[in-house]
């Protein structure tokens, strides 16, 4: 599972029927500095992810999302999802050794 912050939303036009009514978020993965409290903008390097969302995250929220086959596990049927928003992050306690 990775940390990322929501920078936008995605609405699907033509999509797989299993994805009807789904909400997708545009998420920028965290850099190590952002774990330590660096500002969210400017955006960290790295590809922006599109993450399936059932928890109702909004722009500016920090979320924990899982990637890969595990992201399609929470669905009763098999759906083409490979990034799933698993937790809305409230507080990050990040204290690496000096």
């Amino acid at each position: 599972m990775r940390l990322g912050h929501v920078i936008g939303k995605v609405t699907l036009g033509l999509a797989d029927p299993a994805l009807r009514g789904a909400r997708f978020l545009l998420v920028q993965p965290f850099s190590r500095e952002q774990f330590a409290g660096a500002p969210l903008l400017p955006l960290a390097k790295g590809a922006t992810q599109v993450v399936y969302d059932e928890l109702g995250a909004d722009i500016g929220h920090v979320i924990g999302y899982t990637e890969g086959a595990e992201a399609s596990a929470p669905f009763p049927t098999s759906v083409p999802v490979d990034a799933y928003n698993a937790v809305l992050i409230d507080r990050i306690h990040y204290t690496p050794p000096a």
Partner: protein, 96 residues
């Protein structure tokens, strides 16, 4: 499996119910010399690993789904084992 160090924890307001059976900790993957390598990842912890402890994390979704007894859990990384701090000396002794 991968060697990592616990660098912190996160708390969440809303999450998938299967995550409530343990803590979510911040794991910093380590390279062979024990230095930080890459961006930290979040891992599910039921063993109660302490801060800065070295652990083994696994990314096997099928295993963690059995651990939390929920076949719909989106969890992936989890703490498989806590490394004995003295194990580094044995490796050094073997290789010297």
């Amino acid at each position: 499996m991968q060697l990592a160090r616990i660098d912190g924890t996160v708390t969440g307001t809303a999450c998938h119910p299967s995550m409530c059976q343990g803590r979510t900790v911040i794991c910093q993957p380590l390279d062979a010399e024990g230095r930080a390598d890459g961006v930290p990842v979040l891992a599910f912890d039921q063993l109660g690993a302490g801060l800065h402890q070295h652990v083994l994390i696994s990314a096997e979704g099928s295993v963690i789904r059995q651990l939390v007894r929920d076949e719909h859990s989106p969890l992936r990384n989890f703490i498989l084992a806590i490394v004995d701090p003295k194990s580094g000396d044995q490796v050094a002794a073997l290789s010297s």
